[in-house]
């Protein structure tokens, strides 16, 4: 591998793709309804404008076996009096969201394909308004439909610079390392006897 290859490979290490792929973080709701046991997980601290992973687990009420063939929809209601509008980015690049202008709700399908844990149904979504959203999961399977709700507090985004902080510190860190490196090299060079000093000359 040549030098360019190293540089490219090492540069790629620093790249953050910014996806939410952790299959939730904390449990928002856990209910037994109809024939199902439904649990909703989300990221622990959803932030405005960042992808939020919403995950739903559907189980048989009697056996607790995971159900893999249900249809799961997430209905998201923006915070009251917000200026939420149907933006292209509401569901990031992973799915599409339908916007109902009458009820001001977004609907998005959660699928197993989007989950890391394939027993779960996931939908990474991007919420562009801070505040408390209402999240309702609708689960349908063979004529049985259940809906469970929870609230989803979305905090304002941190300043963009905070996300870039590690990459902004990098040059300072490298300069500091280089300074130490140069200091060490000068010290070690200083310890070497000069080729012109009598000690360095071979004894005759």
């Amino acid at each position: 591998m040549n030098r360019v290859g190293y540089i490219l490979a090492l540069s790629m290490l620093g790249l953050s793709l910014g996806d939410a792929r952790a299959d939730g973080g904390i449990m928002r709701a856990h209910e037994v309804q109809g024939p199902f046991v439904v649990t909703i997980f989300t990221a622990s601290e959803p932030q405005q404008g960042s992808p939020v992973d919403v995950t739903v687990m559907v189980q048989e009420r009697d056996s607790n076996d995971a159900i893999l063939d249900a249809t799961v929809k997430l209905i998201l209601t923006p915070p009251a009096r917000s200026l939420a509008k149907p933006v292209e980015e509401v569901c990031g690049t992973w799915g599409t969201a339908g916007f109902d202008p009458n009820s001001e709700r977004f609907t998005v399908a959660a699928t197993r394909r989007l989950a890391s844990n394939k027993l779960l149904y996931a939908a990474p979504i991007k919420l562009d308004v801070a505040g408390t959203w209402q999240l309702r999961a609708s689960i349908q399977r063979e004529g049985d439909v259940v809906k469970i709700s929870c609230s989803l507090p979305v905090s304002p985004p941190p300043h963009k610079l905070i996300g870039l902080l590690p990459y902004l510190i990098l040059p300072a860190l490298m300069v500091a390392l280089f300074a130490v490196n140069q200091w060490l090299r000068r010290q070690s060079l200083g310890k070497l006897p000069s080729p012109l000093t009598p000690q360095a000359r071979p004894a005759c």
């Binding site: 622990s44 995971a66 040059p171």
Partner: protein, 767 residues
Amino acid sequence: MSPISQAILSSWSFDPKMTLGIVALLVLYLRGWLVLHRTLPARFPRWRLFAFAGGLVVLWLAIASPLDAFSSLLLSAHMVQHLLLMSVAPPLILLGAPLLPLLRGLPRKIARDGVAPFLIWPALRRLGNALINPLTCWIVMAVTLSAWHVPAAFDLALRSPGWHKVEHACFFGASVLFWWPVVRPFPSKPQWPLWSVPVYLLATDLLNTALSAILTFSDHVLFRPYLEAPRLFGTTALSDQSCAGVIMWVPGSLVFLIPAALMAMQYLSAGHLLVRPGRTALKPVYVPPLPGTKTPFDLLRMPIIGPFFRAQSGRRFMQAVLFMAAIAVTIDGLFGPQVSSMNLAGVLPWTYGRAFAIIALLAAGNFFCMACPFMFFRELGRRLGLRQRSWPQALRSKWFAIVLLVLFFWCYEVFGLWDKPIWTARLIINYFLAALMIDALFRGASFCKYVCPIGQFQFVASLVSPLEVKVRQADVCASCKTHDCLRGNERQRGCEMNLHLPRKSGNLDCTFCLDCVRACPHENIGIMAVVPGMDLVRDAPRSSIGRLSRRLDIGALALVFVFAGFANPAFMTAPVVAFQDAVAARLGLDSPLAVTRVLLLVALVFLPGTLALAAAYGSRVASHVSVGARELFCRFSLSLVPLGAAMWAGHFLFHLSTAWGSAWTVVQRAAKDTGWPLLKSRDGELVSPLLGADAMHVLQTLVLDAGLLLTFYLMWRVALTYASRGQDALRLLAPWAAISIGLYAFGIWIFLQPMQMRGMADTMSRL
């Protein structure tokens, strides 16, 4: 297989950062191991390679396999994950004796000048020795193991993905330390006698047993998230916890007990004196010097690519492709719809052409000039038989080209070239005419060397390219009497830029035309790998250029290149647009155009000139070196080029990512208009950016970081050529470093601003 089992087995999570890190580490190790295996086969046998690779694979499995996906639902899965992270991956990695192979895997210069001073630093060695002291290792392991099993800490890791990663990093790091005194990877020396190792392992096993017994026999669930989690596979939270305890107890203990038993047997056997503290039974080994200097990478020696570039037809093919593209852009610009995002003239040159040119420059070399679309007209001009004159002596510098380059940037903003396809088409036509006229009248490549603004941009940016056209062996040139590379011969003309290859240094004025390669009868010229920018450290006389320290025009050209790199995207940002509007309103102007004109001249001429002159005089006064301000101006202005090139790259990558996919729709539109409908158009389909906004910010920041660091390094090296003491060198470069930091901060600010898309967004919504 049941659907549930299938779902479980397909629950992999792919973390690109970690995967790439592991692959990079493996490649580095492999590179070093190959060298060491040849020189020290007994010390680095094959099994070490397999052990190291196996350790990395286990590490990857622990993080990416279904174990991770289920770790938040099942404590038992989480426990297996921790077992792999702590007890399997670290000892395997250490068995690979990774220190020397990783060091040897680094490029020689980085290992020798970058890493080696740290490795021989006494303070760092003392710290390292203290860290691998068995007592320290045991304490670190015990504290880590105990602390993370406190319910509050474990719950925190389960709720927060960030803390979960910290937990895993702690476990892995502590385990590497813990296993160090057991494995004793070469070349580290054992600090304690061999008999102490079984004791060390048994003491850890006691702690492990205590913790696992608590988990196994507890009558309530210790970690609350598992109590709340939905239950799977008919387990209860408590039975899952007991199962995790058993996993931690039995396989977890075996990991300590088996090596303890093996080492005890080794000690008790006749060969126990093999290893003693402070003395090693293995004979002192000769550590050979770092791999010797190899022949640098030569693109022309590569299969397929090399012959392609060497052949005249290869270059003609590239020129024909760009020529056809230029013709298409011109026709569409003149006669197509005057909406830039729907026109080839709005998309191909400004979104794709610029981005690919800068990527090629920073990743390889000046391949745009090699494939110059104006070459056909230049050749046509040559054949008219009017080439009697030499380029006027008064214009044989870069000043005229600098004026044209400033004019080009000025027109780009003032006339909105990106948004007016017809202006882009007219610009291309004028370019063709200028190339035809100048090469028809004047000898040599006067157009490229003294006129072409795009060429000057390429020349400056190519100073930080990793490839350079240069001689392969200097002694071959020393014996050459004919100098065909410069003068040419009966079958091939020589360098029209008057670059004599043995005295050529760097890429300045080199169009990568490869005439010299074909003219050289000794096949002694290649496209070789060089360290980007290092050529600027030397100030040797260069063929046809002279010393860079005496070329005020080249320093000024570099400054225009750098400051235009920041000014060009700044004029796209919302605050700068608002500022222009506000100033125009305050002055009572109908349009902000006049403000734009003045601001551009300030940004491209006044500001760089003033700052650089002030820095040159400032550094001279501060450092008391006996060198003129003019020379300092020339040398340090060129040191800013990496930062400027990085800014251009960050800017163009943004456009490329944002409008990625728009070329195809515009080509479809153009083809449809000419009656040649291509494939089915993607009506209504949105074109997603290549990278999301966050990832793009990270990429742009990293590119700018690289530019700043290379600029700093060049400044340091240039300063050392004038000042022998480090303090004087720092004083010399301080004003220039201040300019660099200011530009860097401005660049970051620009990248974080909302951009005016200026017609480069998705086209289909308008079609």
